[in-house]
Protein backbone atom coordinates (compact mmCIF):
# COMPACT_ATOMS: atom_id res chain seq x y z
CA UNK A 1 0.00 0.00 0.00
CA UNK A 2 1.17 3.46 -0.91
CA UNK A 3 2.41 5.40 2.13
CA UNK A 4 0.34 8.40 3.14
CA UNK A 5 -2.60 7.06 1.20
CA UNK A 6 -4.88 7.77 4.16
CA UNK A 7 -3.55 11.29 4.64
CA UNK A 8 -4.06 12.00 0.96
CA UNK A 9 -7.69 10.94 1.06
CA UNK A 10 -8.30 12.90 4.26
CA UNK A 11 -6.65 16.00 2.81
CA UNK A 12 -8.78 15.72 -0.30
CA UNK A 13 -11.86 15.42 1.90
CA UNK A 14 -10.94 18.55 3.85
CA UNK A 15 -10.48 20.52 0.65
CA UNK A 16 -13.74 19.34 -0.89
CA UNK A 17 -16.04 21.48 1.26
CA UNK A 18 -15.56 24.68 3.19
CA UNK A 19 -15.57 24.66 6.95
CA UNK A 20 -13.83 21.33 7.56
CA UNK A 21 -10.97 21.85 9.98
CA UNK A 22 -9.68 18.37 10.63
CA UNK A 23 -10.13 14.76 9.65
CA UNK A 24 -9.07 11.82 11.80
CA UNK A 25 -9.18 8.13 10.96
CA UNK A 26 -9.13 5.70 13.89
CA UNK A 27 -9.67 1.99 14.37
CA UNK A 28 -12.20 0.56 16.80
CA UNK A 29 -9.58 -0.09 19.50
CA UNK A 30 -8.73 3.61 19.75
CA UNK A 31 -5.61 3.65 17.60
CA UNK A 32 -5.18 6.71 15.38
CA UNK A 33 -4.37 5.60 11.84
CA UNK A 34 -4.14 8.95 10.10
CA UNK A 35 -5.08 12.56 10.41
CA UNK A 36 -5.03 15.75 8.39
CA UNK A 37 -5.81 19.36 9.18
CA UNK A 38 -6.58 22.40 7.12
CA UNK A 39 -3.64 24.54 8.14
CA UNK A 40 -0.31 23.12 9.11
CA UNK A 41 0.09 25.92 11.62
CA UNK A 42 -3.32 25.26 13.08
CA UNK A 43 -3.74 25.19 16.86
CA UNK A 44 -1.91 22.03 17.91
CA UNK A 45 -4.00 19.26 19.40
CA UNK A 46 -3.23 15.91 20.91
CA UNK A 47 -4.28 13.80 17.95
CA UNK A 48 -3.83 10.42 19.65
CA UNK A 49 -5.97 11.43 22.62
CA UNK A 50 -8.64 12.92 20.37
CA UNK A 51 -8.59 9.75 18.27
CA UNK A 52 -8.94 7.50 21.33
CA UNK A 53 -12.01 9.43 22.51
CA UNK A 54 -13.51 9.62 19.03
CA UNK A 55 -13.27 5.86 18.67
CA UNK A 56 -14.64 5.22 22.16
CA UNK A 57 -17.62 7.53 21.67
CA UNK A 58 -18.55 5.93 18.38
CA UNK A 59 -18.12 2.40 19.69
CA UNK A 60 -20.11 3.35 22.81
CA UNK A 61 -22.96 4.73 20.70
CA UNK A 62 -22.85 1.63 18.54
CA UNK A 63 -23.28 -0.52 21.63
CA UNK A 64 -26.18 1.66 22.78
CA UNK A 65 -27.88 0.98 19.44
CA UNK A 66 -27.39 -2.73 19.90
CA UNK A 67 -28.80 -2.63 23.44
CA UNK A 68 -31.84 -0.72 22.24
CA UNK A 69 -32.21 -2.93 19.19
CA UNK A 70 -32.23 -0.03 16.76
CA UNK A 71 -29.69 -1.44 14.32
CA UNK A 72 -26.24 -0.47 13.17
CA UNK A 73 -24.87 3.00 13.76
CA UNK A 74 -24.18 5.02 10.66
CA UNK A 75 -23.23 8.46 11.83
CA UNK A 76 -22.80 10.55 14.97
CA UNK A 77 -23.06 14.32 14.73
CA UNK A 78 -22.09 16.28 17.83
CA UNK A 79 -22.94 19.95 17.82
CA UNK A 80 -20.90 22.34 19.93
CA UNK A 81 -21.07 26.09 20.39
CA UNK A 82 -18.08 26.65 18.17
CA UNK A 83 -17.93 23.62 15.97
CA UNK A 84 -19.27 20.25 15.03
CA UNK A 85 -17.89 16.71 15.09
CA UNK A 86 -19.05 14.16 12.56
CA UNK A 87 -18.19 10.48 12.93
CA UNK A 88 -19.07 7.74 10.48
CA UNK A 89 -18.42 4.02 10.42
CA UNK A 90 -15.64 3.26 7.97
CA UNK A 91 -14.90 -0.44 7.56
CA UNK A 92 -13.16 -1.62 10.75
CA UNK A 93 -12.56 2.00 11.69
CA UNK A 94 -14.24 5.34 12.29
CA UNK A 95 -13.81 8.48 10.21
CA UNK A 96 -14.12 11.74 12.13
CA UNK A 97 -14.41 15.30 10.90
CA UNK A 98 -14.14 18.45 12.99
CA UNK A 99 -15.84 21.41 11.33
CA UNK A 100 -16.93 25.01 11.81
CA UNK A 101 -20.37 25.42 13.40
CA UNK A 102 -22.12 26.70 10.27
CA UNK A 103 -21.23 24.01 7.73
CA UNK A 104 -23.62 22.43 5.26
CA UNK A 105 -24.49 19.32 7.24
CA UNK A 106 -26.14 17.65 4.29
CA UNK A 107 -23.05 18.09 2.14
CA UNK A 108 -20.69 16.87 4.87
CA UNK A 109 -22.86 13.79 5.35
CA UNK A 110 -22.80 13.08 1.65
CA UNK A 111 -19.03 13.54 1.38
CA UNK A 112 -18.40 11.41 4.43
CA UNK A 113 -20.53 8.57 3.16
CA UNK A 114 -18.64 8.56 -0.12
CA UNK A 115 -15.23 8.83 1.50
CA UNK A 116 -16.03 6.20 4.11
CA UNK A 117 -16.89 3.69 1.39
CA UNK A 118 -13.53 4.27 -0.29
CA UNK A 119 -11.46 4.54 2.89
CA UNK A 120 -13.16 1.57 4.55
CA UNK A 121 -11.83 -0.88 1.99
CA UNK A 122 -8.30 0.48 2.20
CA UNK A 123 -8.40 0.54 5.98
CA UNK A 124 -9.59 -3.05 6.22
CA UNK A 125 -6.81 -4.05 3.86
CA UNK A 126 -4.28 -2.14 5.95
CA UNK A 127 -5.50 -3.53 9.28
CA UNK A 128 -5.63 -7.12 8.08
CA UNK A 129 -2.14 -6.81 6.58
CA UNK A 130 -0.67 -5.78 9.93
CA UNK A 131 -1.86 -9.00 11.54
CA UNK A 132 0.41 -11.13 9.37
CA UNK A 133 3.60 -9.22 8.76
CA UNK A 134 5.83 -10.74 6.07
CA UNK A 135 8.88 -12.65 7.33
CA UNK A 136 11.50 -10.22 6.05
CA UNK A 137 9.97 -7.45 8.10
CA UNK A 138 10.10 -9.63 11.18
CA UNK A 139 13.86 -9.28 11.52
CA UNK A 140 13.58 -5.55 11.73
CA UNK A 141 10.77 -5.94 14.18
CA UNK A 142 12.84 -8.28 16.30
CA UNK A 143 15.48 -5.55 16.61
CA UNK A 144 12.80 -3.08 17.63
CA UNK A 145 11.46 -5.43 20.26
CA UNK A 146 14.97 -6.01 21.63
CA UNK A 147 15.60 -2.28 21.71
CA UNK A 148 12.35 -1.77 23.61
CA UNK A 149 13.23 -4.52 26.09
CA UNK A 150 16.67 -3.00 26.67
CA UNK A 151 15.18 0.45 27.15
CA UNK A 152 12.69 -1.01 29.59
CA UNK A 153 15.45 -2.31 31.84
CA UNK A 154 16.99 1.18 31.88
CA UNK A 155 13.86 2.74 33.36
Amino acid sequence: MEPNVFEKILTRLIKSESGIRRAILVDRTGLTIAHASKFSSYYPIDVEGIGAIASAIFVGSEEQGKNLDIGDLQMVISEFENGKIFAISCGQGVLCLITDPDVNIGMIRLLMKRTAAELGKLLDEFLSATVSIPVEEKKEEEEELKAALDALEQL
Partner: protein, 94 residues
Protein backbone atom coordinates in the same frame (compact mmCIF):
# COMPACT_ATOMS: atom_id res chain seq x y z
CA UNK B 1 -39.83 27.28 11.71
CA UNK B 2 -41.99 26.39 8.77
CA UNK B 3 -45.19 24.87 10.06
CA UNK B 4 -46.80 21.83 8.48
CA UNK B 5 -49.52 24.12 7.11
CA UNK B 6 -47.07 26.41 5.40
CA UNK B 7 -45.24 23.44 3.86
CA UNK B 8 -48.56 22.03 2.70
CA UNK B 9 -49.61 25.27 1.06
CA UNK B 10 -46.22 25.67 -0.62
CA UNK B 11 -46.47 22.16 -2.00
CA UNK B 12 -50.04 22.72 -3.13
CA UNK B 13 -49.11 25.88 -4.97
CA UNK B 14 -46.16 24.16 -6.58
CA UNK B 15 -48.34 21.24 -7.55
CA UNK B 16 -50.47 23.64 -9.58
CA UNK B 17 -47.43 24.79 -11.53
CA UNK B 18 -46.98 23.15 -14.85
CA UNK B 19 -44.54 20.27 -15.28
CA UNK B 20 -43.22 20.09 -11.72
CA UNK B 21 -41.40 16.76 -11.28
CA UNK B 22 -40.67 17.11 -7.63
CA UNK B 23 -39.85 19.35 -4.68
CA UNK B 24 -37.31 19.25 -1.87
CA UNK B 25 -37.47 21.55 1.12
CA UNK B 26 -34.26 21.64 3.10
CA UNK B 27 -32.66 23.73 5.82
CA UNK B 28 -29.81 26.05 4.85
CA UNK B 29 -27.61 23.43 6.54
CA UNK B 30 -28.65 20.97 3.83
CA UNK B 31 -30.83 18.81 6.03
CA UNK B 32 -33.99 17.75 4.19
CA UNK B 33 -37.30 18.69 5.79
CA UNK B 34 -39.69 17.56 3.13
CA UNK B 35 -39.31 15.82 -0.20
CA UNK B 36 -41.24 14.12 -2.94
CA UNK B 37 -38.13 12.14 -3.97
CA UNK B 38 -36.67 8.90 -2.58
CA UNK B 39 -34.19 9.35 0.32
CA UNK B 40 -30.93 8.99 -1.62
CA UNK B 41 -31.97 11.52 -4.27
CA UNK B 42 -33.32 13.83 -1.58
CA UNK B 43 -30.02 13.72 0.29
CA UNK B 44 -28.07 14.75 -2.79
CA UNK B 45 -30.45 17.51 -3.89
CA UNK B 46 -30.60 18.91 -0.35
CA UNK B 47 -26.84 19.01 0.07
CA UNK B 48 -26.08 20.54 -3.29
CA UNK B 49 -29.01 22.98 -3.43
CA UNK B 50 -28.11 24.38 0.00
CA UNK B 51 -24.46 24.52 -0.97
CA UNK B 52 -25.20 26.25 -4.28
CA UNK B 53 -27.42 28.81 -2.63
CA UNK B 54 -24.74 29.46 -0.01
CA UNK B 55 -22.11 29.97 -2.70
CA UNK B 56 -24.43 32.23 -4.70
CA UNK B 57 -25.14 34.37 -1.64
CA UNK B 58 -21.43 34.58 -0.92
CA UNK B 59 -20.69 35.69 -4.46
CA UNK B 60 -23.42 38.31 -4.60
CA UNK B 61 -22.32 39.66 -1.24
CA UNK B 62 -18.75 39.98 -2.53
CA UNK B 63 -19.73 41.89 -5.65
CA UNK B 64 -22.45 44.18 -4.44
CA UNK B 65 -24.22 43.15 -1.30
CA UNK B 66 -27.64 42.44 -2.74
CA UNK B 67 -29.83 39.61 -1.50
CA UNK B 68 -30.20 36.40 -3.47
CA UNK B 69 -33.82 35.39 -3.79
CA UNK B 70 -33.89 32.90 -6.61
CA UNK B 71 -31.62 30.70 -8.70
CA UNK B 72 -32.61 29.10 -11.98
CA UNK B 73 -30.51 26.34 -13.51
CA UNK B 74 -31.31 25.35 -17.05
CA UNK B 75 -30.26 21.84 -17.95
CA UNK B 76 -30.70 19.63 -20.98
CA UNK B 77 -33.38 17.73 -19.12
CA UNK B 78 -35.34 20.56 -17.59
CA UNK B 79 -34.75 23.17 -14.96
CA UNK B 80 -33.95 23.38 -11.31
CA UNK B 81 -35.34 26.29 -9.34
CA UNK B 82 -33.89 27.15 -5.97
CA UNK B 83 -35.34 29.75 -3.70
CA UNK B 84 -34.65 30.75 -0.16
CA UNK B 85 -37.35 31.20 2.45
CA UNK B 86 -36.31 32.17 5.99
CA UNK B 87 -33.79 29.53 7.00
CA UNK B 88 -35.06 27.10 4.38
CA UNK B 89 -34.16 26.28 0.83
CA UNK B 90 -36.77 25.12 -1.63
CA UNK B 91 -35.63 23.20 -4.69
CA UNK B 92 -38.04 22.49 -7.50
CA UNK B 93 -37.32 20.25 -10.45
CA UNK B 94 -39.32 20.67 -13.55
Amino acid sequence: MLSEDVIKSILENLGKMEGVKGVVITTTEGIPVHSTFPPDVTEKISAFAASLLGKAKEMIKEVGGAKVTFITLDTSEGELLISSEQEYVIAILR
